[in-house]
C-alpha cells in the first residue's frame, strides 16, 4: 500500500496553511470565473498562470487546479438562476435547473447541482488515486512508437466522439498541429514556417491561443447575443440544503451512471460538455419520470452536473500519467508543468512524488472546500452577475491582455491574442471545435517528436506502429475511433441517397 502512504504524505503537503490559503483563493477565483461570461476554466487558468511563475510548483498546481474546480462549480449557478450557462458544460443543467428556479425551488436545484458535482468529482478523484499510478507504471515502458500511438488515439477519439462534423474537427486539429510546428524544429534545430518573421521564432504559445480563442472569442459571441440578465433570487439556507440532501440518495443509480459516463468521457479527451449532454440524455430515457424532464426534475440536474464534474476531474488522469491532457483546461495545467520545469508524463510519479500526491490530495480537499464555499456564498456570486456586461466586458478584455502579455512579456502576443479571438468567434460560429485545436498546439511538438523518432528507429517504415502487440492495439483503437465517424457518415449518406 505504498500509494496510501504517498496519499497521506500528499495530504500533509496540501494541508500546509499556505497551500490551504491558495486552495481557497483558487476556489473563489474559480467560481467567479465560472460565473462570468467570457471567462472559462481554460482561459481563466491561462490568464492566472503567470502569477504562479514564482511559486513552488506544488502550490502553483494546487491553486490552478482549484480554479478549475471552482469554475466547474460556478457554471451551475448562472445556469440555474439566470438560464445562462456560464460554461459550455453547464448548458444541460439549464434544461431542468432553470425551471426549478422558476418554480420557486432555486435552493433545491443549486444544492442538488453542487452536491452532484461534488459526488462526481469525488468519484473521479478516487478513480485517479487508484488507477493513475498503475497507468503511469505501465506507461513507463512506452517507447516513441507507443507514445505516438497514445497521441494518435487521443486525437482520433476527438474526431470520433465530438458532435461537430468530423472534417471540421480534423481541420481544426491540423491547424493546431501546424501552429505548433512553427518556429525552431526541436530535432534538427532548423527554422521552419516563420517566413522571416522574427516574432515567430519561438512559435505560437498555446496559452495565447487559449486566452484568445476562449476568452476574446466568448466575449464577442456574448456581445453578438446582447446579453441581458433576468434572474431569480438566490436563496439557500441550511433547511433547504438538508432537505435536498435527504432526497438525493434516492437517485443513486443516476448518480453512479453519470459518474461512469463522466469518467469515461474525461479520460478519452471528449471532455465535460459532451459528458453532461450524454448523461442528461441517458437519464431522460431511463428515469421513471423521464417524460417530465425539462419541466424542473431534480434528476435532470443531478445527471449532467455529476457527469460534467466527473469528466472535468478525470481529465487530469491522462494528463498526469501519460502527459496527454483530457480537456483544454487540463492542457493549460500541463503547460504550467512545463513552465515550472516539470516534465509531464509517467516519470512524474517516480521523480515528483510530492507534486503528484500533493495535487491528488488537494483534489479531495479542494472539492470539499468548493462545495462549502458555493453552498454558503451563492448570493454573493449571483450578485456578481448583476454587474452589467458593459463594465464586466472591458475588465475581462484587459485581464486577457494582461494574461497574454505576461506569458512572454511580449506585446506582440497581445495582438496575436486578438487575432485568435476573432478566429475563435468565426470558428465557433461555423461549428469548428476549438478543444482539439488547443490540444494539438500543446501536444504537436511531442507528437511530432515521437513520430519522427519512431520512424528514425525503423528507417522510415510505418510498420513500426504495428511492430508489437501493445502499439498495434493502441493504433487499431485509434483507427476505429477515427473511422467510427467516417463509417457512420458514409452509412447515413448512403441511406439518404437510397431514400
Amino acid at each position: 500500500m505504498e500509494e496510501l502512504a504517498n496519499l497521506f504524505h500528499g495530504f500533509a503537503v496540501a494541508l500546509q496553511p499556505y497551500n490551504m490559503m491558495l486552495m481557497l483563493v483558487g476556489i473563489m477565483l474559480g467560481v467567479i470565473i465560472g460565473v462570468l461570461p467570457g471567462l472559462g476554466g481554460a482561459n481563466g487558468v491561462a490568464i492566472l498562470l503567470p502569477l504562479t511563475f514564482s511559486m513552488p510548483p506544488t502550490s502553483a498546481i494546487i491553486m490552478l487546479s482549484c480554479i478549475y474546480w471552482g469554475a466547474l462549480f460556478g457554471g451551475a449557478i448562472t445556469s440555474i438562476l439566470f438560464n445562462i450557462p456560464g460554461e459550455p458544460w453547464s448548458v444541460a443543467t439549464t434544461f431542468d435547473g432553470y425551471p426549478m428556479a422558476q418554480q420557486g425551488k432555486p435552493g433545491e436545484a443549486l444544492t442538488a447541482a453542487f452536491t452532484s458535482s461534488f459526488v462526481g468529482a469525488l468519484f473521479a478523484v478516487v478513480m485517479i488515486t487508484l488507477v493513475a499510478p498503475l497507468v503511469a507504471g505501465f506507461a513507463l515502458r512506452f517507447g516513441p512508437a507507443e507514445k505516438f500511438a497514445v497521441y494518435f488515439l487521443a486525437f482520433c477519439s476527438f474526431v470520433g466522439l465530438s458532435k461537430e462534423p468530423p472534417f471540421k474537427t480534423i481541420a481544426a486539429m491540423m491547424i493546431g498541429f501546424a501552429l505548433a510546428a512553427v518556429g525552431l524544429d526541436s530535432i534538427t534545430g532548423q527554422l521552419r514556417l516563420t517566413f522571416g518573421v522574427t516574432e515567430l521564432l519561438n512559435g505560437f504559445d498555446f496559452l495565447i491561443a487559449v486566452i484568445g480563442l476562449f476568452g476574446i472569442g466568448e466575449i464577442l459571441l456574448t456581445m453578438e447575443e446582447g446579453l441581458s440578465f433576468r434572474g431569480g433570487q438566490a436563496r439557500i439556507n441550511l433547511r433547504v440544503v438538508l432537505q435536498t440532501w435527504k432526497e438525493l440518495p434516492a437517485y443513486w443509480i443516476t448518480s453512479l451512471r453519470s459518474c461512469l459516463i463522466g469518467c469515461w468521457m474525461g479520460i478519452t479527451p471528449a471532455g465535460a460538455t459532451p459528458a453532461s449532454f450524454m448523461s442528461y440524455g441517458i437519464a431522460k430515457r431511463l428515469a421513471k419520470r423521464g417524460g417530465n424532464f425539462g419541466n424542473g426534475e431534480i434528476e435532470g440536474v443531478i445527471a449532467p452536473e455529476t457527469a460534467a464534474h466527473a469528466a472535468g476531474t478525470s481529465a487530469l488522469l491522462p494528463m498526469l500519467s501519460l502527459g496527454v491532457p483530457g480537456s483544454p483546461t487540463a492542457a493549460v495545467l500541463l503547460g504550467g508543468l512545463l513552465i515550472w520545469g516539470l516534465q509531464p508524463g509517467p516519470m512524474l510519479f517516480v521523480e515528483q512524488k510530492e507534486f503528484v500526491w500533493g495535487l491528488i490530495a488537494s483534489m479531495y480537499l479542494g472539492n470539499l472546500a468548493g462545495l462549502l464555499v458555493v453552498l454558503t456564498c451563492v448570493p454573493i456570486f449571483a450578485a456578481i452577475l448583476r454587474v452589467p456586461f458593459s463594465i464586466i466586458a472591458p475588465l475581462i478584455l484587459v485581464l486577457c491582455a494582461i494574461g497574454a502579455y505576461s506569458v512572454h512579456n511580449s506585446t506582440f502576443d497581445v495582438m496575436l491574442m486578438l487575432v485568435f479571438g476573432v478566429l475563435g468567434y468565426l470558428l465557433k460560429k461555423c461549428n469548428y471545435p476549438l478543444a482539439p485545436l488547443v490540444l494539438a498546439i500543446v501536444l504537436g511538438d511531442k507528437a511530432e517528436e515521437a513520430f519522427r523518432q519512431s520512424l528514425l528507429g525503423s528507417q522510415g517504415s510505418l510498420g513500426v506502429f504495428f511492430s508489437n502487440g501493445l502499439v498495434s492495439s493502441i493504433m487499431v483503437l485509434g483507427l476505429v475511433a477515427l473511422f467510427w465517424s467516417a463509417i457512420a457518415e458514409g452509412y447515413s449518406r448512403l441511406r439518404t441517397a437510397v431514400a
Binding site: 480534423i170 481541420a171 521552419r192 484587459v398 506585446t411
Partner: protein, 164 residues
C-alpha cells in the same frame, strides 16, 4: 434558427464557405513553408518540413471537403444580423486600437482609456462611475501583479514620469 427582424446580414453558408477557403489558404501556406524547410529524409532522419507538410496536406484536404459540404448547403439562415455584427465590431475595433497602442503608451494608460471608452460609449455610465472603474482596475492590477506577484507589465512614458 431562422432569421427574423428587418435587419439583413450575411448568410451562414457564405461565411462557412469563406472560412473553409481561409483555412485552405492557411494549409497552402503551411505546405509552402514545409517545402522550404525540406520534406524528404536528411542525414538525421525526416527533415524539419516532413511532419508539417502532411499536416498542411490534411488541412487542404479537410477544407476541400468542408467547402464542398458548404457549397451544397442551400439553407438561407443568417450568420448574424448586421446589427449584431456592428455590436461585435464595436468590441473588436477598440480592442484592436487598445492592443495596438500598448507598445507605445503602456498597459495602464491604454487600459484606463479603453475601460473608460467602453463604459461611457457602450454602457452610458456617469463620468464618476466611469472614472472609478477605469482608474480602479489598473491600480488593483498594479498592486496584484507588480507588487504582490512581481510580474512586470508594459509601461509607457507616463509610468516613467511617475517613477513606477
Amino acid at each position: 434558427m431562422t432569421a427574423h427582424g428587418s435587419d439583413g446580414g450575411p448568410t451562414h453558408k457564405a461565411v462557412e464557405r469563406g472560412t473553409a477557403l481561409l483555412i485552405a489558404v492557411f494549409g497552402l501556406i503551411v505546405i509552402v513553408g514545409s517545402l522550404k524547410a525540406g520534406i524528404n529524409w536528411g542525414a538525421e532522419g525526416p527533415r524539419a518540413g516532413f511532419f508539417p507538410f502532411y499536416v498542411g496536406v490534411s488541412i487542404v484536404a479537410a477544407s476541400a471537403i468542408n467547402l464542398w459540404n458548404a457549397l451544397r448547403d442551400h439553407d438561407d439562415r443568417l450568420f448574424a444580423e448586421w446589427g449584431q455584427l456592428r455590436q461585435v465590431m464595436s468590441v473588436v475595433v477598440p480592442t484592436a486600437i487598445y492592443v495596438g497602442s500598448m507598445p507605445f503608451v503602456g498597459l495602464y494608460v491604454a487600459s484606463i482609456v479603453f475601460i473608460g471608452w467602453f463604459m461611457r460609449w457602450l454602457g452610458g455610465y456617469r463620468w464618476l462611475t466611469v472614472f472609478a472603474v477605469a482608474l480602479g482596475m489598473p491600480i488593483v492590477t498594479y498592486l496584484v501583479f507588480e507588487r504582490w506577484f512581481l510580474v512586470p507589465l508594459p509601461k509607457g512614458p507616463v509610468e516613467e514620469w511617475l517613477g513606477l
